[in-house]
Assembly symmetry: C2
Homo-oligomer: 296 residues x 2
C-alpha cells in the first residue's frame, strides 16, 4: 500500500490523542529505565572503590612495620579488616539474587515496551489504510462517480475503520496495562538497590568491629589528655566534636585519668607501648600521642 498523505485540508490525518498519551507515558518509563538500569548494574563498583581504597591505604601504612613495633596490633587489625571488606564486597557484588531478579524484570519490562512501540508503528499502517479509503470515498463522491463503485468503497472504508478502531482500542489497553507495571517494577528495583547497600553496610560494620576498640581507645585518650577542661574550645575542639558525634561511641567516658591506662587487654599484646604514654598531660593536641615515647 502506498503511503497516504493528507491531500485535502478537509481530510487531515486521523489522530488518536489517547494512544499518543500512552506512548508518551511509556517513553517516560523507558527513559527512567535507560538511566537506572546501567546504574543498578554498576552499583557494586561504588563499594569496590571504598573497600579497595581502605585496603590499599591500610596495607601501605603497614609496609615498613615490623612485628615487634609498638602499635603493630592496630596496623594489623586495619590491614585484615581492609582485606576482609574487599573480599566481602567482591562476594556481594558477585552473588546478589535480589538485584539479578530486579534487573531481569527491568530489562524484560524494557523489551515489553519495545514490543508495544513496534505495535504502535504497525498500527500506523491500519490508520493509513483507513485514511486512504476515507479520502478516496470523499473524492469519488465529489467527482459524482457511479453508485456501485462508491458502495464498494463504502464497504472497504467500513472494514478499514473497524480494523482501525479495534487495533487502536486493543493497543491502548495493552499500553495502559504495560505502563501500570512500572510502579511495582520500580519499587522492586529500589528494594534491590537498598538490599545491596544494606548487605554491604552490615558486612562492613561487622568486619570493622575488630578495629573499633583501637579507634575508641584512641578517641578516649585524645579526649582525656589533649583537652584539659580549661582549654575546652568550641568547634575547634576534637573533644567537642566527638561528644557531639553520635557515631564516635565514646559514650560519656569520664575524665578520670585512670582511664589513660590501656584497658583493652584483649587487643593489647605484651608490653607494646600504645597511644598513652608519659608526657601527655597538658600537651598540645598536635603533639599527642607524644613522640617522646619512641625515643626512649
Amino acid at each position: 500500500m502506498p503511503p497516504v498523505t493528507p491531500l485535502f485540508s478537509t481530510s487531515p490525518k486521523t489522530v488518536n490523542r489517547e494512544i499518543e498519551h500512552w506512548m508518551n507515558n511509556l517513553n517516560e518509563v523507558q527513559s527512567v529505565i535507560n538511566t537506572v538500569e546501567p546504574k543498578l548494574s554498576a552499583a557494586p563498583t561504588k563499594w569496590k572503590a571504598v573497600s579497595q581504597h581502605v585496603k590499599e591505604v591500610s596495607e601501605e601504612l603497614s609496609q615498613i612495620f615490623n612485628k615487634e613495633d609498638p602499635h603493630y596490633d592496630v596496623i594489623v587489625a586495619g590491614v585484615n579488616a581492609g582485606r576482609k571488606w574487599d573480599s566481602v564486597q567482591t562476594e556481594i557484588a558477585k552473588t546478589d539474587n535480589v538485584r539479578d531478579r530486579a534487573m531481569t524484570r527491568v530489562r524484560k519490562y524494557r523489551d515489553e515496551i519495545e514490543v508495544l512501540r513496534r505495535e504502535y508503528k504497525e498500527r500506523e499502517k491500519v490508520r493509513e489504510r483507513y485514511d486512504h479509503y476515507r479520502i478516496k470515498l470523499d473524492n469519488l463522491e465529489k467527482k459524482g462517480k457511479d453508485q456501485p463503485r462508491i458502495e464498494r468503497n463504502q464497504q472497504k472504508l467500513k472494514d478499514a475503520e473497524d480494523a482501525y478502531h479495534a487495533v487502536t482500542a486493543e493497543l491502548i489497553q495493552k499500553m495502559e496495562n504495560c505502563w501500570k507495571k512500572h510502579v511495582e517494577i520500580f519499587a522492586e528495583a529500589s528494594i534491590a538497590l537498598w538490599h545491596m547497600q544494606m548487605r554491604m553496610i552490615d558486612e562492613f560494620s561487622q568486619t570493622s568491629e575488630d578495629v573499633r576498640p583501637f579507634v575508641e581507645d584512641y578517641l578516649k585518650n585524645v579526649k582525656n589528655t589533649s583537652f584539659p577542661s580549661q582549654d575546652y574550645i568550641g568547634d575547634d575542639s576534637l573533644a567537642a566534636n566527638h561528644t557531639q558525634n553520635p557515631t564516635a561511641h565514646n559514650n560519656d567516658s569520664t575524665l578520670d585519668t585512670s582511664d589513660l591506662k590501656r584497658t583493652l587487654s584483649a587487643n593489647s599484646t605484651d608490653a607494646s607501648p600504645t597511644f598513652e604514654e608519659k608526657g601527655k598531660q597538658g600537651s598540645a593536641p598536635e603533639t599527642y600521642p607524644s613522640t617522646q615515647s619512641l625515643s626512649a
Copy 2:
C-alpha cells in the same frame, strides 16, 4: 671551599654506612607518606560516590510516581534515606578532626624528614672539608714539605675530622629518632582512616533503618511464595541465598502463609497493595510480585 674529588686511589671519599642506612630508611618512610597522604585526603570522595549513586538512583526511580501509587511508601523511604546518606556523608567529609589531626601530623612529619634531608646534604660539606685536609696532608707528607706546614695542616685535619664525626653522630641520632616516629604516626593515620569509615558506616546503617522493613518484608514474601519447599533448588534459589546470607536478616521466618499479609502496619498506608497479592502461589520466581495486581 672547592669540591674535593678523590684524587688518589689511596684516598677515596669517606663513607659512613650508618648515615646512608638511615637516609634510606627515611626515604622509605617518605615514600609511604607520599602515597598515603593524598589518599587519606581523598578518602571521603569514595563515600561520596556511594551516597550520590544511591541518592540518584532512588530519585530517578521516583520520578514518575504519584502519591496515590501502590509502593509509594517504599519509593519515598528510599529517596529520603538516599538524600540523608548524601548529606550525612558531606557533613562527615567536612568536619573530621581526627583525620585533620592525623593529616597534619603526617605532613609535619614529611617536613621534618625534608629538614633532615637538607642537613644530610649540608653534612657533605663537612665531609668534603675533612677529605680535603686528609688528601692535602697526604700530599704534603709525600712531597716532604716542611714540618711547620705539615703540623699546621695536621691540626686543621684534626679539627675537620672532629667536626665531621660530631655532625655525623648528631645527624644519625636525629635521623633515627625521626624514623622511629613513623610507627606512631602511621598507626594514628590508620586509626583516622578507620575512624572515618566507621562514622560513615554507623550513619549509613542508622539511616537505612527506615528502608530495612520494606526490604525484609520483600525478602520474606519472595521466600514464602516463589520457592515452595518442593521446588527448593540449591544455588539457583533465592530462598537458599537468603537463608545462607547472614546479612539478609530474614531470621528463619516460617513458611506460614499467614505471613503473606503485610505486617508492617506502621509503614503500610491505607489500602495500597504491596508486594503480596493474589496469583502468587506456585508462580515462577520471575513473575512474582505478580503484575496482575496492577491491572485490576
